[in-house]
Each structure stands twice: as C-alpha cells, then as structure tokens.
Symmetry: C2
Subunit: 345 residues, 2 copies
C-alpha cells in the first residue's frame, strides 16, 4: 500500500508543563491544540507506523494537552495517547512482525500521537487485537480497561469483598463495577449525579452514594460499618475522597489513580496512618507495565479482550467525531458526558 | 520476698478518648493523673508482676493520659507504658520462668502501668535484659530503641543512602541518626531549635535544617537534588512534613510514626501519588510486633541491647524524678526538653 507524504493531525500548541491545575473542563480547544497538515512520521528502530482507525479521548489526554499530566508536552506533535489501527510500516525485527496487523496501541514518549491519520509508537506499546473484537472497543483497549483490570488486583489482595469507587460515571469505574460484580464483590460507588444511581446499580454496585448529599459521609459511615471496605480506587482526589478515607476502617488503602479535581485537600487525622495502619498509594498504568512480569501482562490483556468479545464489557460510545471537526465539536461533546467520544481520521 | 498489699502509683483520671488533639504540652498534670496509694495488682494467667526499678516517659504516655493516643484510657489504673524492673510474681508456665529476672517491659492492654511501685503486664511483653545493660538504658529499651531500629529497616529497603528525620531532637531521631551514620547512611534531619544543629551533626546527620528558617524548603530542595532521599521518618506530621514530602523525588515514602503537632495539613499535589509513585504509610511498634516473625524480633532486640552495652547508643538522662514528686515537677521538667525524664519508685 502507499503511504502519503502528509497527513491530517491535531497538534499540541505548547511544550512542557503549564504549572496550572485547572482540570479537564474546556470552553474552547484553541488554546491547546490546532488542526494542521504535517508530514507523516517515519518509524525509527523499534517503532511502528499505524494507520489510525479510531483514536480515543481519555481524561489523561485532556490533562496532557493542558500541560497538567505526568509527561511534558511537545509543541507541534500530534496529541492523543491511544487508538486502534493497522500497522503499515516498521523498523526493527520485532516491529516488522506487526506489519499488516490490527493493533490497539498507546503512544510512547518518542512517538507521534493518535489524534492523526497516522500514529507512531514503540512496537512494544502495541497489542494485537483478536479479529472478533470491535474497533470501538479496541480504540480504548489499553488505558481504561487495563487500568480497571490491573487495579482490581489491588482489591483482590485486600481482605474484604467490599471496596470504594469514586467518579462512578467514569468508564474505569463502570468497568471495575461490572468486573467486581462478576467476581462476587460489593462495590460502594460515589457519583456526582443522582441519575447515575440506577445505571450503576444495574452494573453491579452494592451501594451508590451521591457526593452532593449533605449527609453523604454519614450514609457512608453506616454502610462502612457493615461492609468494611479496605480499598478506595479514587480518580478524583478531592476533599470528599480524604473524608471518606479517614472514615474507612483499619488498614484502609487510598489508591489515587486520577486527580479530576484540582482543589487542595485538608486532613487532620494523620494519626490513623500509625494506629489504624492506613496508607495512601497511587496507580499508574505506565508503572504497572514496568513492574508486572510479561506473562501476567499477557494474561490480563487476554482477559480484557475476552470480556469485550463476549460483551461482559461494552464501550458506551456517545459520538465519533471526524478529526477535521474536532476542535469545533469537542467542548460541547465533552461537556455532555454521555459516554465515550472517539476521533476518526 | 514479701510483696506489700498496697503501692504508690500515678493514676489515670479519665476513661477512653478525649476527642481533643492538643499535643503533649502540659501546664499542669492534675487534670490527667493523680498520686494515690492503691492495691498491688495480682497476675492473671500469662501475666507477670514487676517491681519497678525505673519507669520511662515517652511522648506516647503523654498523648495517652490526655486521651489522644491509639488506646483508650482506663480511669483509676496507673499510667506508664514502659519501664525496667524485677519480676516478683507470675501466673502460667511461660510467665513463671521470668520470676527473678530483670526485664524491660511494655504494659499490655490488660495490665497495670509502669508509673507505680509495681507494674503488671503480659509475660510476652517482657524482654530479659543482659546483666551488663544499665537500668537507665533498659527503662527505655522497647518503645524508642526498638522503634528506631525497626523503622530503620524501612530505610534499608529503599534505594537511597539518604533519608529524612523530623523532630530531630527526639530520642528516636537521635538513635536513628547514629545508627544510620554507623551504616554509611546520610540522614537529613529537621529540628526546631538552632542549638540542635551541632549535636546532631556530631551524632551523624549529613544535613540539619531548622524548621523555622523562612527558606527551609528551598534549602531542602537543593539538598534533595543531590541526596535523593526516598524515605521520611516523621514524628510531627504537620504542614512542613507535607511540604517536604511533596518536594521529595520519585518513589518517596512518608512514614508517619508520631503526630506531635495537632494541626491539620493541606495538600494539593496528590497527582504525585500517581506519576511519582509516592506513598504515605505509618509505623507503630505494636503492629511491628504483630507482623514480624519471632526470630527477627529476637535478632533486633539483641542488636539493640548490644548497641547500649557497647555505648554506641546511650540514654541522655535529664532527670530521675521520684513518683511522689512527679505531679509537681513534671510540667517544668518536660518543658525544659533537656533529655530523658525517668520516674523512680
């Protein structure tokens, strides 16, 4: 096949970190990304070039383009950490084995983002996708489903069938909720909007609490006395997260995997780290890949694909937006929070 | 020998927890303890009665009598968690083997405190003391030196020769500092009073920072870039502790083992748990005894006694106060902070 010389892409407009912590709300995309025609990148040793089928949009992408994520921006390079596509060129012996394969991919630090007709990434950041897995599922294969499945291993290691999820309406929380239900666990889920109560109960939440209820902490304390949750998987990390943590029983572990809320927290009960053996840790999929043996990674990837193929997990797609309309349409689509938004070349 | 019917003791004046967090400053002792003559307790199954030689005073004792420690007070029982003395009576086969032995002891939940002529505790809370170990060292054998030695194992497991100590003038910090120096580590020590700089450098601190210096955090950042400390052993848990933690490099672990400062902390950089793999945990000697295999406990106890016997560790005694003068003299003696204060029957 012929690879064109140039391609359409959404480019980062800044380098490095912004130093701000404004979160993932956007009135407009223009300060952060721009629509452009640029040269198609060429694979270097160990890299593959992928013709994008669909690109994903995660909270991490939105933090990133604002300069508020754990990796520095690179002005003039396409944004987008994740997608699905076909490997069309490669360099290096392992990379070349992937040519012609459909892969889910995340973009390596030395690569070129997925919000483009073509993406460039390290060959080992590609996961070949089973033929019976849909593109809309494969586009978001890595960041959220692998995070959900890998983080759930932390819950499994704790000695309670109950645990806590925040940001209940997020895709990760929904994936964890249904996985937990299938395994006989009892998730306690916090949501911002009352209309999420029933959908989450239908997915498998044992309890759903609305963050804005004035007595939400009292409701939680009553539930915690029965359920004794030991782990909180938290994507928000705001004051309520801290208050929940300090209301949890002995040996509670607050696992922070996202900071959706940019505000500071206040805490007084630090004696609980001593006398109640509590702990705060973090989870980042990048670290999980570094720390987890390859055979365990392969097992988890296989489980994740199987769950999508047999429809125990599904991707709730709100909208697929063509790249050329993204800057105009994204602010409204993101604000609606109706499900996944994907980008198509 | 004859055991008398009654004894002199300093009794707790309240039950349970106070709900306050006022710290260990005392204008007067009268609201919390009283001087009294009470019956000498009798050992129950598994317990020993100890004729006190010297009783220790730790921050935990002072938090406890105020109702601000991790165990509930029991009105009318003697205070005091630690001491050294001779076992004069016992019940149960293991306990009876200790009769006639000089032991360092901590007081079990079902026991009777060390601030008394006689103390009662579980036999397994007693550590027989080598004949060549002095009473003033044995009186504080368990709480501080075992904490120092056991906590230092956390530093050993981290991949840096540098680590942080707060409350540098405390006995635990001094013990850790000299142990660390002997093992080739480079402690960064925070103190409240400038006059502690030289004594701590003499003990083995690589850097000593004064908490009240306006640029203390900038000083720390410059040092941290060179030294890359991964562990902070923190007895204070106030805002500066939090600020130090968030200024530490990747994979930093904030180990809270005391909460000397009752104020709340504020924190914004919770993303560091995710992207920098940071963590907050606690250390409590009671949990260490629960979680550590007996042979490792015996090894650590042997090391601790050896360090006192060969004078690598010494106890810096400011004053030995007779029980009958304690209520009058303690507030002034504690405020002077010149070293260890012990109680004698």
């Amino acid at each position: 096949m012929t690879i064109p010389k140039t391609m359409h892409a959404l480019l980062q407009k800044h380098d490095g970190y912004s130093g701000t912590q404004t979160g993932i709300v956007f009135e407009t995309m223009e300060p952060f990304i721009e629509d452009a025609q640029i040269a198609v990148p060429e694979p270097q040793e160990g890299q593959v070039l992928i013709r994008t089928r669909l690109a994903n949009i995660n909270p991490s992408d939105l933090h990133f383009i604002k300069g508020e994520y754990g990796q520095p921006r690179r002005k003039g390079l396409p944004a987008g950490f994740e997608g699905v596509g076909d490997v069309v060129a490669a360099k290096g012996s392992y990379a070349e084995k992937l040519v012609g394969k459909r892969v889910a991919f995340s973009v390596s630090m030395d690569g070129s983002g997925s919000w483009a007709d073509y993406a460039l990434t390290a060959a080992h950041n590609c996961i070949p996708v089973r033929p019976d897995m849909q593109d809309v599922d494969a586009a978001g294969h890595i960041v959220n489903p692998l995070t959900a499945y890998a983080m759930f291993q932390i819950v499994r290691k704790a000695d309670s069938k109950s645990f806590i999820l925040t940001a209940g309406a997020s895709q990760v929380s929904k994936l964890v909720t249904s996985l937990a239900r299938d395994e006989g666990y009892r998730p306690i889920v916090f949501v911002r909007r009352r209309e999420m109560i029933e959908p989450l109960k239908a997915l498998g939440a044992a309890h759903v609490l609305v963050e804005t209820d004035p007595d939400v902490l009292d409701q939680f304390r009553a539930i915690a006395r029965q359920e004794k949750p030991r782990v909180m998987l938290d994507a928000v990390a705001h004051q309520l997260s801290a208050d929940i943590f300090f209301a949890m029983p002995n040996r509670a572990n607050w696992v922070i995997y996202g900071k959706l809320d940019a505000s500071a927290i206040s805490a007084r009960e630090l004696g609980q780290f001593i006398f109640m053996s509590k702990s705060i840790t973090g989870f980042w999929l990048t670290e999980w890949f570094r720390d987890t043996p390859p055979e365990e990674q392969i097992r988890v990837i296989g489980e994740v694909q199987q769950r999508f193929v047999d429809r125990r997990w599904t991707t709730d797609v709100a909208e697929i937006i063509p790249l050329k309309n993204a800057i105009e349409k994204l602010p409204t689509a993101l604000a609606a929070r109706n499900g996944k938004i994907l980008l198509s070349p």
